[in-house]
């Protein structure tokens, strides 16, 4: 690397990758060379910037210009106008949805203003395939200091003081887990990184692994030092090929530099990491199922206790941590646990990465201090609901979580508050819904997922969830009854009470949460046979508006099931019992006489 005076950072996360950011990167490099700037301008790919709604992202430094929705065709103009002439390409700048003003520096964007990137500190900043960039940013300093200057007990004390809790959804205090694993007696122990991220729509862990894999590697080594393990295993879902590649490259580079392997930093401590691939099972994100999957057995959870910290992989003490939890650790050690504990709320320290999705203007990856309110996230960072629609609910925690509504908007986000409000943090999925979303359909969608992913071992999840889904389907088809609502509630409670693992224990949460918060909508579905958001097609009614009907018979002639009756020049009538809601009549009517309600 020479000394460049301009750095061009192109987002290489999977999202932008899918929008040709790889080609964009190559085209930018080509243009730079063609214009003779290769000694002055460095063009690299980085990890996820988080602003996925506006990807592919290109950031120019040092003037901090943040370009959005860049295509390979724009490479030429960026090089010619911006790099050479110093003129920003305005049409590629981000514009505020309401004020329509262009904002060039991401620091001034609502999306970024309230974010505090700790786990994502290097994503969008460094080239994840170059270990030197990680080292230049205090990389492996935490590991070195731990090995050379601190005892395992001291490091564990730091972890405990920081208040870091598991970011995979469990929220278990990380320091405590390390301490318990340390105390388990065995010659062989394992450090496992849970990179199975299965929640639909969640990509926090993926972005960290793609954008800053070394932070995870370093944290695993530190964990190994603390608990007394020299073997690290990363269980990563096979559906993340880019993350796997980046991780492999990073591990290879760490080994080359002597940061993984034997006698690390001359301390006598050995540690190395192997990858294990998932095979498409959400349930293998549950730690015991994950461990059994690695053992070559069917990926089914087993009863806890015994906990993995005591008896895990092949019966040995095993420490399982989530990717995001690990990514925080080098920063905590470098900047001190007091710093970390000063961020967040009383019982939930630090920040959390959320995948913001749904009917929100700014879809993407964000990281905010715990205690940030939902309102801030949705209306400031997310810049409000898309198309100016009305906010209805936000679903947190994926298929294990519940819905939060208008009345919860000022809840500070943390582990305990979310549970108290009837939801949970989960791994960080946040799906925003507007008035056009049907809450019954939403519950059904989550049950569909859980039914598909249930391992089948225990009765309540295997059969119970299926029955819940059948009832919800019945309701969305317009065949639900009032008793079905009671059945939903009762069965949900029994499933929660009797299921063997976290998947089953939390799968009824979307049902209970929507029943509690949107009882009216459920009642409308079963009593009035109406879906106010119009999402349940079976509940839509096509009717003729008598005032507008001129009796042209166009609808009746085209109805595939002869549901429309009426003579020429007389008002027509649709028989609801026969109507299959195909919508042809609406299409054919030229007099606005067909209404869908």
């Amino acid at each position: 690397m020479g000394k460049y005076n301009m750095h061009v950072l192109v987002c290489g996360g999977t999202g932008c990758h899918a929008s040709e950011s790889e080609t964009l990167l190559q085209d930018l490099k080509t243009e730079v060379i063609e214009h003779g700037l290769e000694n002055e301008v460095q063009v690299i790919a980085t990890g996820c910037f988080g602003f996925c709604e506006k990807g592919p992202i290109v950031k120019i430094m040092p003037d901090n210009t943040f370009y959005t929705q860049v295509t390979p065709k724009d490479a030429k103009v960026i090089v010619e106008e911006h790099l050479i002439k110093g003129r920003k390409v305005n049409r590629l700048l981000y514009t505020h949805p309401e004020t329509k003003e262009a904002v060039a520096d991401s620091k001034h964007m609502d999306f970024y203003k309230k974010q505090l990137r700790i786990a994502l500190r290097n994503c969008g900043f460094i080239d994840p395939e170059n270990i030197e960039e990680y080292i230049a940013r205090d990389g492996y300093e935490a590991l070195a200091r731990s090995l050379n200057e601190l005892t395992p007990e001291q490091v564990i004390e730091i972890m405990k003081k920081s208040g870091l809790r598991g970011r995979g959804g469990g929220g278990f205090p990380t320091g405590l887990k390390w301490e318990i694993t340390r105390k388990s007696v065995s010659d062989i122990k394992y450090v496992v990184c849970n990179a199975d991220e299965g929640d639909p729509g969640a990509f926090m862990d993926r972005s960290i692994l793609e954008g800053d894999p070394h932070s995870v590697i370093e944290a695993m080594a530190i964990c190994g030092y603390c608990i007394g393990s020299s073997i690290g295993l990363v269980y990563i879902r096979a559906e993340y090929p880019l993350a796997i590649e980046r991780l492999k490259t990073a591990i290879g580079q760490s080994r080359e530099y002597g940061l993984l392997g034997e006698d690390i930093f001359g301390s006598g401590f050995n540690f190395d990491i192997e990858l294990r691939y998932g095979a498409g099972a959400f349930v293998c994100g549950e730690e015991t199922a994950l461990i059994h999957s690695m053992e070559g057995l069917r990926g089914e959870p087993t009863v806890k206790p015994p906990f993995p910290s005591v008896s895990g992989y092949f019966g040995e003490p095993t420490n399982v941590n989530n990717v995001e939890t690990l990514a925080n650790i080098p920063a905590i050690i470098n900047q001190g646990p007091e710093w970390f504990a000063s961020i967040g709320s009383e019982k939930s320290k630090g920040t959390k990465v959320f995948a913001l999705a749904g009917k929100i203007n700014n879809v993407g990856l964000i990281e905010v201090p715990m205690g940030t309110t939902l309102r801030e996230v949705i209306y400031e960072i997310g810049e409000g609901i898309k198309d100016g629609k009305k906010f209805k609910a936000v679903q947190t925690g994926g298929p294990s979580g519940g819905c939060l509504t208008e009345k919860h908007l000022d809840t500070p986000i943390d582990y305990d508050n979310l549970i108290a409000s009837g939801s949970m943090m989960g791994s960080g999925g946040m799906i925003v819904m507007d008035e056009d979303d049907c809450m019954v359909s939403m519950a059904k969608f989550y049950l569909e997922f859980t039914v598909d992913e249930s391992c089948g071992k225990c009765t309540p999840c295997r059969v119970g969830n299926k029955r819940l889904h059948e009832i919800l389907d019945k309701i969305t088809q317009g065949k639900g009854t009032r008793e079905d609502l009671d059945r939903l509630r009762n069965l949900s409670h029994v499933i929660k009470d009797t299921a063997l693992c976290g998947l089953g224990q939390t799968s009824p949460n979307p049902v209970l949460s929507t029943l509690d918060n949107f009882w009216d909508e459920y009642m409308e579905h079963v009593i009035d046979k109406k879906c106010r958001s119009g999402q349940c097609k079976a509940l839509l009614q096509y009717v003729i508006v008598p005032e507008n009907c001129v009796g042209c018979t166009a609808c009746a002639r085209n109805c595939p099931v002869n549901a429309i009756s009426g003579e020429r020049k007389e008002i027509h009538f649709i028989d609801q019992a026969i109507c299959i809601k195909c919508g042809v009549c609406l299409e054919k009517c030229k007099f606005n006489a067909v209404l869908v309600k």
């Binding site: 000394k3 005076n5 040092p62 002439k85 030197e132 080292i135 230049a136 930093f265």
Partner: protein
């Protein structure tokens, strides 16, 4: 690519590498550093603004001054090219005209290092959108 065998090795390696990353580190917090913007429009380039910019970059590096040098568009003072805008943290930006490498040297030594004003300042009579926003 060298094996890192100790904490000292790591810190040395980091030091060596930090220079290369410094541009990015600095640009994340430009307000804390001296910012020099060099006008690089046609007239600027024609009058040798490129050499001036390179000079600033190299000299800041040599003299260990934390500064960010960027190029910018036409500032409007075509008669006085090459022009530069210097913003010292906490102070109003100042535009200098007729800046050649000799003048650049003077600006670094006198203004940037000591806060002494140097000849050739062009008074700014307008506000840009950026400054407008910041003032709001």
């Amino acid at each position: 690519m060298s094996q890192v065998k100790s904490l000292a090795d790591l810190r040395k390696l980091k030091e060596d590498l930090q220079g290369k990353m410094s541009l990015r580190e600095k640009s994340n917090h430009p307000e804390s550093m001296v910012q020099v913007k060099v006008a690089m429009a046609t007239c600027g380039i024609a009058s040798g603004a490129k050499q001036v910019m390179d000079f600033f970059i190299n000299e800041f590096d040599k003299r260990n001054i934390h500064a960010v040098v960027t190029q910018t568009g036409c500032m409007g003072y075509c008669y006085a090219e090459p022009t530069i805008e210097v913003t010292i943290p906490g102070q109003e930006p100042i535009v200098f005209g007729y800046v050649d490498t000799k003048k650049a040297d003077e600006i670094i030594e006198k203004y940037i290092k000591n806060g002494e004003l140097v000849e050739g300042i062009i008074p700014v009579k307008y506000q840009s959108i950026e400054t407008n926003k910041e003032n709001k």
